[in-house]
């Protein structure tokens, strides 16, 4: 039989329901493999003993009606977990133990999921390579010294290395889709308002959205069904009728109209990405989709807009870390001195940079020139998509402008790091659902992803197109376990 850890979530659930594998056997397999994979540095906090205990309890009183019956799952360390340390990858929250649970993780435990541990991420989810984490770099299981993407880099690495059957990340500008693309896995950012933000350490509140990361499209549909819910505790949670994403999943996408935006052909895009995109268009046609050329004229303004809106919101959200009620405190001669030293020692360089940008664009005399301007351009970017969706049902683009890069390669140049998110950021600004699926390899054999963007609340169409194309693409990760002795 195939190893338990390499099963898809769907297969694992099936085996558990058919009593071929117990929850405890599954938990043991993932814990064991995680123990042997410390070199990847995916875990910030392990919950292994507790996971083994809870899996035994599940086996003693199993409930196979649940959607995730006794399934061990590791999650990004941005989700608050009751009584389990939650750091957001930051020194300032190094000792923070929440006394409450995020809605998204609670939904997972309610359906039988069991916490394996908390996964590394860029500090406060600010980064595209997991290099800004206080807890150090994460290795990409694809090859040595390669970044796993970010900010959900611990999640993508753990998933690709088979340390967890599925995982969840958060996506503010591409933090689920870009790491999925870098590790040959699937990552879905749902429509803004689908998954509750309650209990997720806030970065940019008008952009943040949690979503599933998995080995294949079907697994993402199963997990989305569990985590997407209306929640009174999140003021921007939206009460809409959610599909039964996994049971409504179909490969029949005949006649669906897929748009190809010409503005995504950016200057300096490697030929490999262009070719991948062309191949993707052929796959979509093979699946029965109709391909239509479209224009999203304000695409090139999305990144500059994002780098005003996101830091502005971050500077407000991160004002709460003052060393008084929780988190790190440095000693100071006065209250103000204590604040300044705590924040200086507690935050890393990238977080400080973004707080400074945010504070600047919101400061007196600059608000109209930067923040208000960015909000107006954001309206234009959203309108581009609204117009396009009069003609098409979904949009196909590359997920990233390159494959995974080496650790340290871009860490001294913030702007070149930001360019990683050029294809993913517009989707957050417009609040749309988007998925990245593995679609091929570059000359180094590193994975490359394609992105499918949908209409608001139409995750089902996005999943169906991805499911259909996935079968044609037939991509398989080739992981050699190089990090094990």
């Amino acid at each position: 039989m195939t190893e338990i850890t390499s099963l898809s979530l769907f297969e694992l659930i099936k085996n558990i329901k058919e009593k071929k594998i117990s929850s405890n056997e599954a938990a043991k397999s993932f814990v064991d493999r995680s123990e042997k994979s410390k070199k990847l540095n995916t875990y910030v906090t392990e919950n292994f003993e507790n996971c083994l205990k809870l899996s035994k309890e599940f086996d003693n009183k199993p409930n196979f009606d649940l959607k995730l019956p006794g399934i061990p799952i590791a999650v990004k360390d941005l989700f608050c977990t009751n009584e389990v340390r939650t750091t957001a990858g930051s020194n300032i929250l190094n000792n923070f133990v929440p006394s409450y649970e995020s809605t998204v993780t609670q939904n997972i435990w309610n359906e039988g999921g069991i916490l394996l541990g908390k996964l590394n991420c860029d500090e406060f989810a600010m980064g595209s390579s997991n290099e800004t984490s206080f807890f150090g770099n994460v290795q990409n299981p694809i090859a040595k010294n390669l970044v796993p993407g970010g900010s959900s880099g611990g999640s993508s690495s753990a998933l690709a290395a088979n340390l967890t059957p599925v995982t969840i990340g958060t996506d503010t500008g591409g933090s689920i889709r870009q790491p999925a693309s870098f590790t040959g896995t699937v990552g879905l950012k749902p429509t803004y308002g689908s998954c509750s933000r309650y209990g997720i350490v806030a970065f940019a509140s008008s952009l943040d959205q949690a979503g599933p990361m998995s080995k294949d499209v079907k697994d993402s549909s199963i997990l989305l069904e569990v985590i997407s819910s209306f929640d009174k505790k999140d003021s921007t949670s939206i009460d809409f009728k959610r599909n039964n994403y996994s049971s409504e999943l179909t490969r029949n996408i005949k006649g669906i109209k897929i748009g190809i935006p010409k503005e995504y052909r950016v200057d300096g895009m490697p030929g490999e990405i262009e070719n991948l995109w062309k191949k993707g268009i052929e796959y979509a046609k093979d699946c029965g989709a109709e391909i239509i050329d479209i224009s999203l004229p304000h695409t090139s303004y999305a990144l500059p807009t994002y780098y005003i809106v996101a830091p502005a919101e971050a500077s407000s959200n991160l004002a709460r870390y003052d060393g008084v009620k929780y988190g790190l405190r440095s000693s100071g001669e006065s209250l103000i001195d204590m604040y300044e030293k705590t924040r200086s020692e507690g935050f890393g360089e990238e977080v400080k940079r973004r707080i400074m940008i945010g504070t600047y664009v919101l400061s007196s005399g600059y608000y109209d020139a930067y923040y208000l301007k960015a909000q107006k351009v954001r309206q234009l970017i959203k309108k581009d998509f609204d117009d396009a969706y009069n003609k098409v049902d979904a949009i196909l683009t590359p997920s990233t402008p390159s494959s995974a890069f080496k650790i340290g390669e871009k860490s001294n140049d913030p702007v070149s790091m930001y360019l990683n998110d050029i294809f993913t950021v517009p989707v957050n600004l417009a609040g749309l659902p988007g998925i990245s699926i593995p679609a091929g390899r570059d000359k180094n054999n590193y994975p490359l992803g394609l992105q499918i963007i949908g209409k608001p609340f139409d995750e089902q169409t996005v999943l169906n197109i991805a499911y259909s194309m996935e079968e044609k693409i037939n991509y398989k990760n080739n992981i050699t376990d190089w990090w094990m002795e």
Binding site: A319, K325, S334, V415
Partner: protein, 95 residues
């Protein structure tokens, strides 16, 4: 428009982040390269565009004015760096 060292120091005061001189210079450089990239927005005319404040086009919901949690005083105080019975302790503020 260049962001000078004086501006960086002013912003760091507003953001309550203490900065060493050397770090401030590096930050000024970084901010200038980021703002150079941001200035691209000025190519667009936006006088007649409504700003987009929330992507979820909903009005904020009201909730009943009811207490929904039990006594959570200890839970709230649990993570505080310094506490004294039922209070958060901070450095002395008044002389």
């Amino acid at each position: 428009m260049a962001i000078d060292l004086k501006t960086v120091k002013h912003i760091s005061k507003l953001a309550r982040i203490s900065l060493e001189e050397k770090k401030a210079e590096k930050l000024a450089d970084d901010m200038n390269s980021i703002f150079e990239f941001i200035e691209k927005l000025n190519e667009l005319k936006t006088e007649n565009v409504e700003p987009l404040t929330s992507i979820a086009e909903t009005t904020l919901r009201f909730r009943d004015d009811k207490i929904t949690s039990d006594n959570i005083r200890e839970k709230i105080l649990k993570n505080s760096p310094e506490k004294n019975d039922d209070f958060f302790v901070v450095p002395k503020v008044v002389e």
